[in-house]
């Protein structure tokens, strides 16, 4: 059985990684070949995950010896298997989408496909990596392949900038991981000295509380935080997700950033006694990321940037769950730990489904209209009904509204927070609750804006008016993902055993508590059905033929000028919220000055820069570069100066030796 699991996993990795190869040699149909291979790989991966989650036990495989070190190691345990599910599903959906979205006509389509498959292959290896070198190999492979994906449209300077910021951030994070793994290895480190210290082995009790343990945790947090997009390390994410082709954004946001979470999850799983402050820090960071993520999302008018900020928000939600679970694990309350971890894990899966869906939907919109600017869209619900419906499902789910999947995971995290009231310092619970509630309301506001402005009302530009529904290849993956969102929301019990097993592995409880029993997931299913039935019934009743007349314009309170540009815009929709959050968001506005009695045409512009990237990182680096530029004279071309260096070095070293 375990052999089969490993074989399936390797199959999955190879099929996906090599999916772009046939396309290099085929004149046409490379995309389709890639999609088939990715699909086959996804099935293999799902099968492997299913076997492990059904209780087949962790499957392990020793890889070849890495140079001068211990052997590489793959191990598919329930946690890895749980992460394998989105890793298998989403890229396959994206590959199918790519057939329609990024056809042979695009410059570099073949490279993109090749790297897309490669990224997926690395992702598959990553979820099963159980050794620092294997992990880092897959990690950087994924990151670098992802960089090339982001750079797909590198003729655009904005894309180049986005790609570079991404690469810089991911590599900085990786170097933090170097340090963290380095500290974790060896005697006194979290992973101990076995196998060179690079094998993921459970930490001995007490190690996490040492200062070295603390430093290790913080370095892991920063390293994984860069990838996951935890505020304030999120800054690479909006430009990169905005610039990448949409099916790439979809896996970037859906699974790649989740690998940061995977790293944190692995760490928490390996530490039997995490200190309380680990959990508390995670909760605080979660609340921060969640609130700021959604607040900045609200202020965006680029569809994909907006979705990217929502990824930061959802990472925040996941961290809240992870933090609460860690608090539970630290304080010895298995129920709390289980609920928090289960919520976090389920939200990882859910977010990958609905955010993948939303990015594909955004891709369809971009494909059909050529614009990502919300203010130039509108009315697409008429011309692209399928995309609109799918996008609505995604929006519904990401707002955490019942009966879709987003609700289930948020519900688990809420429950954990409520449970925490009894066990923990209630401040953490209250913080989590207030943050979750506010995030939920802000997300709903934001997606009301997005759906309303993009798909409803009427087209605000000629491009939007000319839009047509996208091809089947693009619709099908959206449909699949939307169905998954609905299915998981309506019947969370289906995944409950798997979830419980993964959460138990994370919590370190030997007996997987019956999550379905604790969390009453079945009631959610039971209520979802009447809710949906009732809604459909009432809808049918209200739209009964003959009960209405159509073809009239909207009643606009007497203003008959039928101008689509007079519709409420995304900016105006968000204006009051952005205005009340302006001390956080710090928008840059250019308001027109109206002086004369009959002013001419005036423009109004507003832009909310990313606080970290545009106000700290970039100016900071610019300043540093200019500061270092002053030192250029040291290499000023004069041989005398150079010889002087040698003399000075010699004299200094001699004096140091004598001293």
């Amino acid at each position: 059985m375990l052999v089969a699991v490993m074989a399936l996993l390797v199959c999955c990795a190879l099929l996906t990684a090599l999916s772009g190869i046939p396309g290099l040699y085929l004149r046409a149909g490379g995309g389709r070949a890639a999609a088939w291979l990715m699909g086959a790989g996804a099935l293999a991966g799902l099968a492997a995950a299913a076997l492990v989650l059904a209780g087949a036990g962790p499957a392990a495989q020793v890889l070849s010896h890495t140079p001068l070190g211990s052997p590489g190691y793959l191990r598919l345990d329930p946690i890895g298997a749980f992460f394998l599910v989105p890793v298998a599903v989403l890229p396959a959906c994206g590959a199918v989408f790519g057939v329609g979205y990024w056809g042979e006509g695009h410059e570099g389509a073949r490279t993109l496909r090749l790297l897309y498959g490669l990224t997926t292959g690395f992702l598959v290896v990553l979820v099963a990596a159980a050794h620092a070198l294997t992990f880092l190999l897959a990690w950087e492979g994924m990151a670098v392949a992802g960089f090339v994906l982001v750079m797909a449209e590198d003729r655009d300077p904005a894309t180049r900038r986005a790609g570079w910021v991404y690469l810089a951030a991911t590599h900085t994070g990786t170097l933090c991981l170097f340090a963290a793994f380095g500290l974790a290895a060896g005697p006194g480190g979290l992973f101990g000295a076995g196998a060179g210290g690079f094998l993921f082995t459970p930490a001995a009790p007490g190690l996490a509380a040492t200062s070295r343990g603390a430093l290790t945790f913080l370095l892991f947090l920063v390293g994984f935080g860069f990838k996951a997009g935890i505020f304030p390390l999120h800054f690479w994410l909006p430009p990169a997700h905005g610039a990448a082709p949409s099916h790439v954004s979809s896996i970037m946001s859906g699974v790649v950033i989740k690998m940061g979470i995977l790293g944190l999850v692995r760490l928490v799983a390996l530490v039997p006694d995490p200190p309380l402050w680990w959990g508390a820090l995670l909760v605080v960071l979660g609340a921060l990321s969640g609130l700021l993520g959604v607040a900045f999302a609200l202020a965006q008018h680029d569809l994909k940037r907006l979705l990217a900020y929502h990824s930061i928000e959802n990472i925040g939600i996941i961290l809240l769950g992870l933090g609460l679970g860690t608090l539970g694990k630290a304080s010895g309350h298995p129920v709390l730990a289980l609920l928090g971890f289960a919520g976090a894990l389920l939200h990882v899966l859910n977010h990958s489904l609905f955010k993948g869906l939303l990015f594909l939907g955004a891709g369809s919109v971009v494909h059909a209209t050529g614009s990502r600017d919300l203010e130039r869209l509108g009315g697409l619900g008429h011309t692209m009904p399928f995309t609109a419906a799918a996008f609505l499902a995604g929006s519904w789910a990401i707002c955490g509204l019942p009966p879709l999947n987003g609700f289930v995971s948020e519900w688990l995290i809420y429950l954990a927070a409520f449970q925490g009231l009894a066990f923990l310092h209630p401040g953490w619970s209250v913080l989590a609750l207030a943050a979750l509630a506010m995030i939920g309301a802000l997300a709903a506001a934001c997606f009301a804006k997005v759906y309303g402005v993009v798909f409803q009302g009427r087209a605000r530009s000629p491009e939007a008016a000319r839009a047509a529904e996208v091809s089947l290849a693009m619709r099908a993956p959206m449909g699949v993902l939307a169905c998954a969102c609905i299915g998981l929301g309506a019947a969370p019990l289906l995944v409950a055993p798997a979830l419980a097993r993964a959460a138990a592995a994370l919590a370190g409880t030997s007996e997987p508590l019956a999550l379905g029993g604790i969390a009453h997931l079945w009631v959610l299913s039971a209520l979802a059905l009447p809710l949906a039935a009732l809604a459909v019934l009432l809808w049918a009743w209200s739209r009964r033929r003959g009960a209405h007349t159509t073809g009239q314009p909207t009643w606009d309170c007497g203003y008959a000028a039928d101008c689509p540009r007079a519709q409420y815009t995304a900016s105006s929709f968000a204006d009051s919220l952005v205005g009340s959050l302006r001390y956080v968001l710090w928008p840059r506005e250019r308001r027109p000055k109206l002086r004369a009695l009959f002013p001419g045409p005036r423009g109004y512009r507003s832009h909310v820069p990313d606080p970290v990237l545009e106000r700290a990182a970039e100016p900071g680096f610019d300043l540093a570069a200019r500061g270092l530029g002053v030192l250029r004279f040291l290499q000023g071309g004069h041989l005398a100066l150079y010889l002087l260096y040698i003399l000075v070095t010699l004299v200094v070293l001699f004096l140091w030796m004598v001293a």
Binding site: L68, L133, E140, R160, W164, H171, T172, F621, L631, L653
Partner: protein, 479 residues
């Protein structure tokens, strides 16, 4: 065998210098490289290196074998690339070029196999002189300036190294040793050597060989020499000459270690290593000239080597491994940068952009080389940089490891900024395009080098691993 490895390339050099036919000379390069490599591998496989007589002047000990293996492989790759390059430069006579090129291999073999400090020094000196004409290949004002600086700075360095060698000899004299002062004997009798002289000698050797190696702030000739010579020469200098100097330094380091001065020597290496990385980082920021960028990267990697030795223990193994990793990847970088230059007739931003469009293979190779050299898996430098960092964090101190990683991050940011601009984007429309196109001849050697770098990142033949381990023991003073 030892004599063959040294004499064969030198004979080839003489032949190349004497023989009139340019075509013959060009063909001689890959043939010599391949034969040398084959002979070396044969010698290693036959196990002739295991202490071929303690009292011999020449021989393949683990350290020398490993260094020579790296040099020979790199030479082979460069020699396979050189004919294609020379074909692109029909206007330049290649007599001196080929002769110097071949002579370098012979002298490097001498250096790697020499068991005597004086002999090592002689080999280093002659290597410097043999490579000077290579830097001057372009015969213009810029290349003459570079050559002059290389020669003066290199000569001063080598003079200091000589003084250091003499100090070492004096230390031995005070310890009662007599000629011939083979390294093995110096190490065996390490405890009796005069400590003050030994220390002073090591400082001089560090400054002297460090100048040849390019440790900051002694590296100042590097950007000019690498920037103005052909790409293939940059590769040979950055991977070959530096390896020679590093080997020479390690020999003396080993004596220090055997004499019980390990802590002192380590501190110096650590400090110089970090300083080199810092200097490189500062000058890579907004570096518009890609060749100078690579030169500073070379300074950085010399710093990493020194740092690894300074950290000691496990890190020494990986510093030695890094020797190969750096040489291979630097080869890819310099030669692909050379190809890109050739296509754009410039090596500076903002003229060189969109390399993946104009020279797709070289552009991608350059980019991959950048990733590799900055420590991205699965390339070999990842293994060494990660392990050196991990070892440094554990010992000597957290701060050394932290400084190492912070500098690596800074260097990545600085280097990547330029590389991304060079590789991606659109080639400038208003610049003339030279007739250069990527061909198999100008890219295949690079692909091989990169392939080797990947292979080393994933797998190392066990005998080679054992060789590196025993070389590391040797460096740490346990023969």
């Amino acid at each position: 065998m030892a004599w063959f490895l040294i004499a064969f390339p030198l004979l080839a050099a003489v032949l190349a210098f004497a023989k009139a036919s340019g075509r013959f000379r060009v063909r001689l390069l890959p043939v010599t490289g391949a034969l040398h490599l084959a002979a070396l591998v044969l010698a290693l496989v036959l196990g002739r290196y295991a202490q071929s007589g303690v009292e011999a002047w020449l021989g393949l000990d683990p350290l020398g074998s490993w260094g020579l293996l790296v040099i020979s492989v790199l030479f082979c790759i460069c020699a396979c690339y050189a004919p294609a390059y020379l074909a692109l430069r029909p206007e330049r006579d290649n007599r001196v070029f080929t002769a110097s090129f071949l002579a370098f291999l012979g002298l490097a073999s001498l250096l790697a196999m020499a068991h005597h400090p004086g002999l090592v020094w002689v080999a280093m000196e002659t290597t410097t002189l043999a490579t000077a004409p290579l830097i001057y290949f372009n015969h213009n004002r810029r290349s003459i300036e570079a050559t002059w600086k290389y020669l003066i700075i290199g000569s001063v360095g080598i003079a200091l190294a000589l003084l250091g060698t003499l100090f070492l000899a004096y230390a031995a004299k005070l310890g009662g040793l007599e000629e011939p002062l083979f390294f093995t004997r110096l190490m065996e009798r390490g405890a009796s050597l005069s400590r003050p002289w030994l220390r002073a000698g090591f400082v001089l050797a560090l400054v002297g060989y460090g100048t040849k190696m390019g440790l900051a702030p002694l590296h100042t000739w590097k950007p000019d020499a690498y920037g103005e010579s052909p790409g293939v020469i940059g590769a040979l200098l950055a991977g070959g000459v530096t390896t020679c100097a590093f080997l020479a330094l390690l020999r003396i380091f080993a004596v220090m270690a055997a004499a019980g001065e390990l802590a002192f020597a380590r501190k110096l290496m650590l400090g110089m290593g970090l300083l080199s990385m810092l200097w490189a980082a500062v000058f890579m920021v907004r570096q518009l000239d890609i060749r100078r960028l690579l030169a500073y990267s070379s300074v950085e990697h010399m710093g990493i080597l020194a740092f690894g030795i300074g950290v000691g223990g496990r890190a020494v193994v990986f510093a030695l491994f890094h020797l190969a990793a750096n040489a291979l990847v630097k080869g890819v970088l310099f030669m692909s940068a050379g190809n890109i230059n050739r296509s754009y007739a410039s090596k500076r931003l903002p003229y060189v952009t969109g390399a993946i469009r104009r020279t797709p293979v070289s552009g991608w190779l350059f980019f991959l080389g950048f990733l590799a050299i900055t420590g991205t898996p699965p390339f070999a430098p990842f293994i060494s940089e990660f392990n050196i960092a991990a070892a440094a964090l554990a010992r000597p101190s957290l701060w050394a490891g932290a400084a190492f990683l912070v500098l690596l991050a800074g260097i990545f940011l600085a280097m990547g900024d330029t590389v991304v601009q060079v590789v991606f984007g659109t080639p400038p429309a208003d610049r003339v395009r030279t007739p250069y196109r990527d061909t198999l001849a100008t890219t295949a050697p690079l692909l091989v080098a990169l392939g080797l770098a990947v292979t080393l990142g994933l797998w190392l033949p066990a005998p080679v691993g054992a060789m590196i381990h025993s070389a590391a023991n040797l460096v740490e003073g346990q023969p």
